[in-house]
């Protein structure tokens, strides 16, 4: 599980973080404004390509993408 979280965390940091942002597994991403809802599309696409899954639009909600832990749970749900 940590390997999955680490991969997601690495992507989130590279894609969205500024120099001063400290992001952990449980940092709020969307609700804090760090990741704008527009940018969710590439995050979803990254997950679908990397983990060979398909996340239906109704499951790709801002709430489900709001932390690395929540995203990892979502990925697990579609890979298991």
């Amino acid at each position: 599980m940590d390997e999955l979280k680490d991969a997601i965390l690495k992507y989130v940091i590279e894609e969205y973080a500024g120099e001063d942002d400290k992001i952990t597994y449980d940092s709020a991403l969307i609700s804090s404004g760090l990741v704008d809802s527009f940018s969710m599309v590439s995050l979803k696409r990254f997950l679908e390509v990397k983990y060979k899954i398909s996340i239906p639009d109704e499951d790709a909600s801002p709430e489900a993408f709001d932390s690395v832990t929540k995203i990892a749970d979502l990925v697990k749900r579609f890979t298991s």
Partner: protein, 415 residues
């Protein structure tokens, strides 16, 4: 009564929260035409104060230019006050089409369609030309009106880091399966005053078969050697597929905007863009004023040259005094203060010194990036700038920020 105490208290609570957050916006009443020197009533009921305006979008000083005013009067006399119609029913006069042709010529595009504002142009264009099979890829600092336009469109949207061409290229690769890709930018970013790298963006667009979109509202009339905009500055005239711009800033400052670009895209807007279809045609008096503004700019580069000199003089003066400025070479010169409260106090003290400039802070700019955004005009004379510099230095000394680093200012005042 449906609008009773319960409903009223909901809004009163929200307004209180806005006040407590320190982001309540209050208008200042100007009792004179828009210009470098204005008479302002602030707060409401106070005596009028004559101040130097250094925060208007009146880049070329055309808002109250005698020739523009005369042309507007003539438009009023010969074409009337209003159209009482949308364009496609009975709201198109000969001068509406004439302005579309003149803008096309000025920007070096294929065709142009007028909108009531550039906000409306941005709100309407994406929905008119894209479907759910397409992707809009925008710089992360594009203007709020573009964000709203993207929200109204069924195409997918993604962003790339501000000005980061490698990141943009990754996004273009990521979405290469889409029917259409649109790269979306401001020409000059209004809060930072920096310019999009349109030459590099056009190369990427050509490599990845993408459409280019630029909102040149803070550029049209004065950026580039002859003031055509950022596409002239970057050497890509004729290569930007969609330009939106406003007549509410440099080009007379009244109102109105347009989409200018590829003729099929303009025609799609004429058929489908909702703000075009469902709101009134621009008033003849404004069309006449904008036509004159374009004629003045086509005749001579004197005004944009003066603006460039003013901006350069102002930037050097502030920099030499020890202020931290956002880097750039446009007439938007942000003076960085970092702390929101400091930006408000600084603006208030400037006003006392006879200088009208506004502090911006989160959420308008990023947290810890509060600033006074100054904007130069060809209407400024050297004595305006010298007086404003004197005031900035006096207030800067009061808060002991001159010559200080970002770190030092943040340590003293906080983020």
């Amino acid at each position: 009564m449906s609008y009773g105490d319960r409903v009223r208290s909901i809004y009163q609570q929200q307004l209180s929260e806005i006040r407590e957050a320190g982001i309540f916006k209050q208008e200042r009443y100007i009792h004179s035409p828009q210009a470098a020197d204005i008479n302002v009533e602030f707060p409401a009921g106070a005596d009028l104060q004559n101040v130097i305006n250094i925060c208007a979008n009146n880049y070329l000083g055309l808002s109250s230019h005698p020739e523009v005013i005369k042309a507007a009067h003539e438009g009023l006399d010969t074409r009337g006050y209003g159209m009482s119609s949308v364009r496609f029913i009975c709201g198109t006069q000969d001068i509406h089409r004439e302005l579309e042709q003149k803008v096309t010529e000025f920007l070096g595009t294929e065709d142009t369609i007028l909108f009531p504002s550039c906000m409306d142009a941005n709100a309407g264009v994406f929905e008119a030309i894209l479907t759910k099979d397409d992707i809009m890829i925008s710089d992360r600092l594009v203007h709020a009106s573009i964000v709203d336009g993207m929200r109204l469109c069924s195409a997918e949207h993604d962003t790339y880091k501000h000005g980061d061409m490698d990141h943009l290229e990754k996004k273009l690769q990521l979405f290469k399966d889409k029917r259409l890709r649109v790269i979306i930018n401001d020409g000059v970013f209004s809060m930072d005053g920096d310019t999009a790298k349109l030459d590099e963006i056009v190369k990427l667009a050509e490599a990845y078969d993408a459409i280019t979109f630029v909102d040149d509202s803070h550029s049209s009339g004065f950026i580039g050697r002859t003031g055509r905009g950022t596409h002239e500055k970057c050497g890509v005239i004729g290569k930007i597929d969609i330009i939106t711009t406003t007549f509410g800033k440099a080009l007379g400052g009244a109102s109105g905007g347009c989409v200018s670009g590829r003729r099929e895209i303009v025609e799609m807007c004429r058929q489908k863009a909702r703000p075009y279809l469902f709101s009134n045609a621009m008033a003849p008096v404004i069309i006449s004023g904008v036509l004159k503004a374009l004629e003045l700019l086509t005749r001579s580069t004197e005004l944009r040259d003066k603006l460039e000199e003013n901006a350069s003089y102002w930037r050097k003066g502030l920099s030499d005094a020890g202020f931290i400025l956002k880097k750039g070479d446009t007439p938007i010169v942000p003076v960085m203060l970092f702390n929101a409260r400091l930006s408000q106090d600084f603006s208030r003290d400037l006003y006392k010194e006879g200088i009208y400039a506004i502090g911006f802070f989160f959420p308008v700019v990023a947290k810890g990036q509060a600033r006074i955004r100054t904007q130069l005009s060809a209407g400024h004379e050297k004595h305006h700038l010298d007086k404003a510099l004197e005031a900035f230095i006096k207030v800067g000394r009061k808060y002991e920020i001159l010559g200080k680093t970002e770190q030092e200012i943040i340590e003293r005042y906080g983020m």
